[in-house]
Amino acid sequence: MIEIKDVSKLFKTKSGDVQAVDNVSIQVDKGEIFGVIGYSGAGKSTLIRLLNGLETVSSGDIRIGDDYINALSGRALRQKRQKVSMIFQHFNLLWSRTVEQNISFPLEIAGVNRRERKKRVKELIDLVGLTGREKAYPSQLSGGQKQRVGIARALSNEPEVLLCDEATSALDPETTDEVLDLLLDIREKLGLTIVLITHEMYVIRKICDRAAVMENGRVVEIGEIKQLFRNPQSSVTKRFVKDDIDDEETNVSFEALREQFPNAELVKLSFVGSKSKTPIVSKIIKKYDVDMNIIAGSIKHTNKESFGHLHVTIDTSPSVLEAITKDLAAENVKLEVETHG
């Protein structure tokens, strides 16, 4: 659906040249939610603006559907933009227009007639759950509601691709979840392809199928989410994953634990993309008739799998522990012994 090939973007400024995007190649499939994560200044903002021609490439090709964006200009580019729409961190609604007039705006640009506009706007308001707020002005809405208007507006011309520019970065965690769920929902209903940029691993983990990690204009790592979590290669990715999984870092004091459980093994269970929804821990306890004590842990869920760690003590013999290790490995859970009792 989207093919970014050897794309670079060089900004010439008075204080010198800035290589915002450096030889980036990415392919995004139809219906996929693709994330680009990076710290600020990594070039992700520029990259997403290259996709709808708000910035022009210095070199390389960008194909969306059948069109090369870098080959389009003027009218053809403007028409293509109706099918590659965008939502923004600060929503960028027109304060002078009501909710329904804002959603109607792209339709007016596309030259859709009044009756059709009205019908479409009503459908979209229902889709994003803003029924009853049609006549409100943006200043009367909460952040989450504003982003819903932004999404409805972006969907009004039935785009093939939705670009999300830090769409949840200005929202609180709860509202972020609402907006992300809405994005999953519309992907499901409308089958559109979504490219989002963010600096929050949480967003990537929650809704993306695949992601690219950017640093200094380059893509340093790209792959499925489970792969990024399971086996992060670059130091940036490791940092993002670590920040996400260990955000309530489990500082287990091994000394104190050993005193408390003198005969137990202290082990760490690493959930690196477990698909199973089965209660693994209780299964092990029942199967081997062992005592297991959860010390600390943090498990995060993506839209498909679980990631994280559990620190537990197991009071058992080495041979049983080996059997347990095998069983867990079958469920994609890695068992590591941290201390011997």
């Binding site: 708000l54 403007r78 965008m86 923004f88 960028n92 002078s96 200043s139």
Partner: protein
């Protein structure tokens, strides 16, 4: 001291005031201000939008447009109004057919206030959130969509307060033009009130101008507030 008291009493006696003449000149002032404001609004808006749009681009040709426009705007703003009237006499008589009366005053009024308003328009447009313009571009808006659906509506409160300030300035300018024969309340105050020694006429003309200014200010403030949904 007695002389001053006598003058003051004469001033508030209103014995020299011909009220139908006052009304006539008030209407003339309103005409001049009204037409001048209308054309200033249109011309200033166009020039202001050109300044704003060309100032944003870094293309060489567009840069030249910006510099030429900015130069003309600064030039006309720098020339004092009273001198501009004199400089424009040949131009005025050519296109208006006269240099006297309401018609004769309009070219100078418009050409002095439109550049001022153009700068106010430019400032108003610069206050628009860049993200909103970018959003419109991302939807495939062309330049006309951006001007009529984004720039003007999103800066409307500032455009209205700007034209209010400009209109009030124009009321003052019509009075100056009145001194050299444009008609209106300025002519009344100077030609009748001053030269014939009838201070009561001057006072009445002043009050009439004040009332016009207050009305413009109030209407402008209310309108600007009414369209502001931020």
């Amino acid at each position: 001291m007695d002389k001053l008291r006598e003058d003051f009493l004469e001033m508030i006696s209103f014995e020299n005031v011909q009220w139908d003449r006052v009304w006539e000149e008030t209407v003339a002032t309103l005409y001049m201000t009204g037409y001048a404001t209308l054309f200033t609004f249109i011309l200033g808006l166009i020039v202001g939008i050109i300044l704003f749009l060309s100032g944003r681009s870094d293309g060489r040709f567009i840069r030249v447009i910006y510099l030429v426009t900015a130069f003309l705007v600064n030039l006309f703003r720098a020339v004092p109004f009273i001198i501009l009237i004199i400089l424009l006499i040949p131009f005025t008589s050519e296109i208006m057919g006269t240099i006297m009366g309401v018609k004769g005053a309009l070219p100078a009024l418009i050409l002095s206030s439109a550049p001022f308003y153009a700068r106010l328009v430019e400032i108003a447009l610069k206050e628009i959130d860049k993200g909103v313009i970018e959003a419109a571009q991302s939807m495939g808006a062309n330049i006309w969509h951006i001007i009529f659906k984004v720039l003007i509506p999103e800066s409307l409160p500032a455009l209205i307060s700007g034209i209010t300030v400009t209109a009030i300035m124009l009321v003052g300018a019509t009075a100056i033009a009145g001194v050299i024969g444009a008609g209106g309340l300025g002519t009344l105050a100077y030609m009748v009130g001053h030269t014939r020694g009838q201070p009561d006429v001057t006072l009445v003309a002043t009050i009439a101008i004040l009332i016009i200014v207050f009305i413009i200010q109030i209407v402008g403030d209310l309108t600007s507030k009414a369209v502001d949904k931020r």
